[in-house]
């Protein structure tokens, strides 16, 4: 019998890994990969809680919508990345900082 905490630990590992990837990578696509991990951890949490606490299928519905949103996010995000690459010829995340005020370095 697997307990809820086991799922939460897996989910936590997914979350933290995604977070670390988001912070440490400088490539936008890699950051999007990290976001996918975080979304997956949230969806896993929803399904696990749906199983162990509420005993209905609302969690499944939520995770379905998360998957849908992740798909939309990936499509639009990657389109933006490709467009950005066409313009700047790089996808370094720190290049995406043109809206701030220029501070003398």
């Amino acid at each position: 019998m697997v307990s809820l905490q086991a799922y939460l630990i897996v989910s936590l590992i997914l979350l933290i890994t995604g977070l670390v990837i988001m912070i440490s990578r400088k490539n936008i696509v890699a950051i999007l990969l990290g976001i996918e991990l975080i979304l997956n951890s949230a969806a896993l949490n929803f399904v696990a809680y749906s199983k162990y606490t509420t005993n209905n299928l609302d969690g499944h519905i939520f995770s379905l919508f998360i998957i849908v949103i992740a798909a939309a996010e990936a499509a639009v995000g990657l389109a933006i990345v490709i467009r950005f690459f066409q313009i700047k010829e790089t996808i370094h995340i720190d290049e995406v900082s043109e809206l701030r005020e220029e501070i003398a370095r």
Binding site: L19, M22, I23, I31, I93, D94, V96, S97, E98, L99, R100, E101, I103
Partner: protein, 729 residues
């Protein structure tokens, strides 16, 4: 018959949809436009006929249908302000619907022949459809407000159709004249509606009837006049404008600038009848306000005056225009003397034969390419069918027995005579005499017109030879012949002479008299409990409030000619007056016809004899009693323009110079002071100070906003951790 919105509304909506569809079609496929219009009105005719047949089957004086819909509701709490629209159908409405749709159908069909190939002839049908739908909407309406709205739509259509050939300057002027003249009446009409609203709190007809029945108008005055008189007068002014009565009749002759079918439909058969219809609807109010003498005088003067002007007209359509005014005068006279039933019957019969006359005139003008009678003559060989139809109508309008005009007009005259004989007061003598003189003149000018047009020798060989011989065509003369069939009297009276000598249907031979009864006090009692709530539906199929004999005894002006076996004495008086009137008018008509034959067929008396003897009178007639001169030259040019100049001088000289410029000067000074305050205090201290403060603060805060997303994430996570610490521990 089950009255739902789907059996009533198509009467109004089919022509309206035809209008809307035509608005679209006219740019894309103009050749379909006339047929859409015709289809709309013919479909409407079938629905109207269904309603009429049902009412005829029920055969109950008090039968009416009332449907109410909520239109505007701004009520909150106790402040009730709402306007409901609705449908009100009683016997009169049913007859009116049948008449309007039938006549309009035939006129539409005729127009497809008359207008074909004319300039903008598709647009003509667009206007016709809009007009017909507005007229039917007016007839169906249950309250004065929507009647007013449709009234104005009809005014617009009339304007557009009079000025249909706007290339001609006269047509444009005539349309403006018609529009402005009727506006005078409409302003009063609106005032009347407001006066009624002030008393009744609602403007729907059953509520007004109920208020009259409950005596709500008693003791109320405005400007020292009884309120009922005021309201009734104002509404009657609407009738004066729309139906071209005495002071405002000047627009109708000019309205003949429009195409002939529109003259037939609007300026003869239906729209001008709408004014009389409104007065008939408001008949109780007129009598509560004791306006009958005034109405009778206006009707008599109009009937006589227009008939005299018609004597000398050379234009075929002008004769008919003045005869229209004259006949409308008879209807108004009928309202004034209490001949409610006869006035409405004259409305219906007149609509039919006048429509036929105008269509015939249109047929003649279109075939002959001229409208001046001195150029015509002998056309009976060229246009036999038109001649037959026109003769039937002429006999009808002249009041020859057997024809419908005799039935209706002589009943009005008989009632006028009866009122004069019964009361013995001199005030009723003048309208009665004017009416009889008009009845003498009417056959004369109509026969004159017929003789000049169709008989005798032709006076212009070129045009006569050029005119083609007429064949029986479904959209040229078949509508005329159909209309001319209905000029026979027994359709309306149930007997050939109107006096019950030869009857065709034993039980319902007197249907017109039975179904259309004046809404006098006792008849109004059925409305006294009316609530007129939105979405209510009343159908009084089995209700009959009072037996007829009882009501006749109580009514003073009920109008004679009913089945009055219970009231022998009354019946004798009425019968006496009516026989007298009938005999008198038959004699008058015979004399008039003889005179016409003598002058224009046999040539015993030359018309120039009268021209010489009565030269002053003829001059007055040629100038239409100087009414146009009075209005345009005296009233407008001398009076109103002067007043305008005065007001304009006041506006620019006094108001503009001192009030407005002075205010501007003051403003400029205030502006100078405030500008200084603005520049020195607000701008430099408050605004700039705020900006400097903001800049200093932003220098501190913008170092956080580095633009590097990962730093934001770190800060975000830090914030989440801090927040959870704060909340959790």
């Amino acid at each position: 018959m089950n009255y739902t919105i789907s059996t009533i509304a198509p009467i109004f909506l089919l022509p309206f949809f035809a209008f809307v569809i035509n608005c679209v079609l006219i740019k894309k496929v103009p050749k379909f436009v006339p047929w859409v219009s015709v289809a709309g009105i013919v479909g409407s005719f079938f629905f109207a006929a269904a309603i009429f047949i049902d009412f005829f089957t029920v055969y109950n004086t008090d039968y009416y249908i009332h449907k109410v819909f909520n239109w505007i509701d701004l009520s909150h709490g106790d402040n009730i302000f709402k306007i409901d629209l609705g449908i009100f159908i009683d016997n009169m409405t049913a007859v009116m619907l049948l008449m309007v749709t039938g006549v309009a159908s035939l006129i539409h069909i005729f127009s497809t022949w008359y207008m074909k190939g004319d300039v903008r002839w598709e647009r003509f049908f667009v206007y016709l459809s809009l007009f017909t739908s507005a007229m039917l909407g007016l007839v169906l309406s249950d309250n004065l407000l929507s009647i007013f709205m449709f009234w104005e739509i009809m005014g617009f259509c009339s304007y557009s159709l009079i000025g249909f050939y706007f290339e001609k300057e006269e047509a444009g002027n005539a349309s403006i004249k018609a529009f402005m003249t009727t506006r005078v009446g409409d302003v009063f009409f609106l005032l009347g509606i407001l006066a009624i609203w002030a008393v009744v709190g609602s403007v729907d007809i059953p509520s007004i009837y109920a208020a009259i029945s409950n005596g709500a108008f008693e003791g109320k005055t405005v400007f020292g006049i009884a309120l009922a008189s005021f309201a009734g007068f104002c509404i009657f002014c609407g009738t004066i404008g729309k139906s071209a009565q005495f002071p405002l009749q000047v627009w109708l002759p000019d309205a003949m600038m429009g195409p002939t079918p529109c003259s037939a439909l609007i300026h003869a058969a239906t729209m001008v009848a709408a004014g009389v219809y409104l007065s008939l609807r408001m008949y109780p109010l007129m009598y509560v306000g004791e306006l009958n003498t005034l109405i009778a005088y206006i009707g008599g003067i109009t009937a006589f005056g227009a008939a005299t002007i018609a004597l000398i007209q050379k234009d075929l359509k002008a004769v008919l225009a003045y005869s229209t005014i004259s006949q409308l005068g008879y209807m108004v006279l009928g309202i004034g003397v209490g001949a409610y039933n006869a006035a409405f019957m004259h409305l219906v019969t007149h609509a039919i034969f006048k429509a036929c006359l105008f269509l015939s005139a249109g047929s003649v003008i279109h075939s002959y390419h001229d409208k001046y009678m001195p150029e015509m003559g002998g056309l009976k060989n060229k246009l036999p069918y038109t001649c037959i139809a026109m003769w039937c109508c002429t006999l009808a309008i002249a009041g020859v027995p057997v024809f419908s005009g005799f039935v209706s007009k002589d009943r009005i005259l008989g009632d006028a005579l009866y009122l004069f004989l019964q009361t013995g007061e001199g005030v009723y003598a003048i309208p009665t005499i004017l009416g009889f003189v008009g009845a003498f003149l009417t056959p004369f000018y109509m026969f004159r017109m017929m003789f000049l047009t169709f008989h005798g020798k032709n006076r212009n060989k070129d045009k006569y030879d050029h005119c083609h011989k007429e064949h029986l065509t479904w959209n040229q003369n078949v509508p005329l012949l159909i209309l001319s069939v209905f000029t026979l009297g027994f359709f309306f009276s149930g007997s050939l002479t109107g006096q019950g000598i030869i009857s065709f249907a034993k039980e319902k031979k007197e249907w017109f008299k039975v179904l259309i009864e004046p809404p006098v006090q006792q008849r109004l009692e059925k409305f006294s409990n009316v609530t007129s709530q939105p979405f209510s539906f009343e159908d009084t199929r089995d209700m009959s409030v009072i037996p007829k004999s009882q009501y006749l005894k109580q009514s003073g002006f009920a109008g004679p000619g009913y089945d009055t076996s219970a009231e022998e004495e009354y019946y004798d008086e009425v019968h006496h007056a009516h026989v007298l009137g009938a005999v008198a008018s038959v004699i008058i008509v015979a004399l008039s016809v003889l005179l016409a034959f003598a002058m224009y067929i046999f040539g015993f008396i030359s018309p120039s004899f009268f021209y010489d003897k009565l030269s002053f009178w003829v001059k007055a007639l040629k100038n239409k009693y100087y009414m146009d001169w009075l209005y345009i030259d005296v009233l407008i040019k001398k009076g109103l323009l002067k007043l305008n100049n005065l007001l304009s001088w006041f506006d620019s000289g006094i108001y503009d110079r001192y009030a407005i410029d002075g205010w501007a000067f003051i403003n400029r000074q205030v502006f100078k002071a405030s500008h200084w305050f603005d520049r020195v205090i607000v701008d430099s201290v408050a605004v700039d100070g705020t900006a400097v403060g903001t800049e200093i603060f932003s220098l501190v805060t913008k170092s956080i906003q580095s633009g590097y997303i990962q730093k934001y994430i770190i800060v975000l996570i830090g914030a989440i951790v801090a927040l959870s610490m704060f909340l959790g521990f």
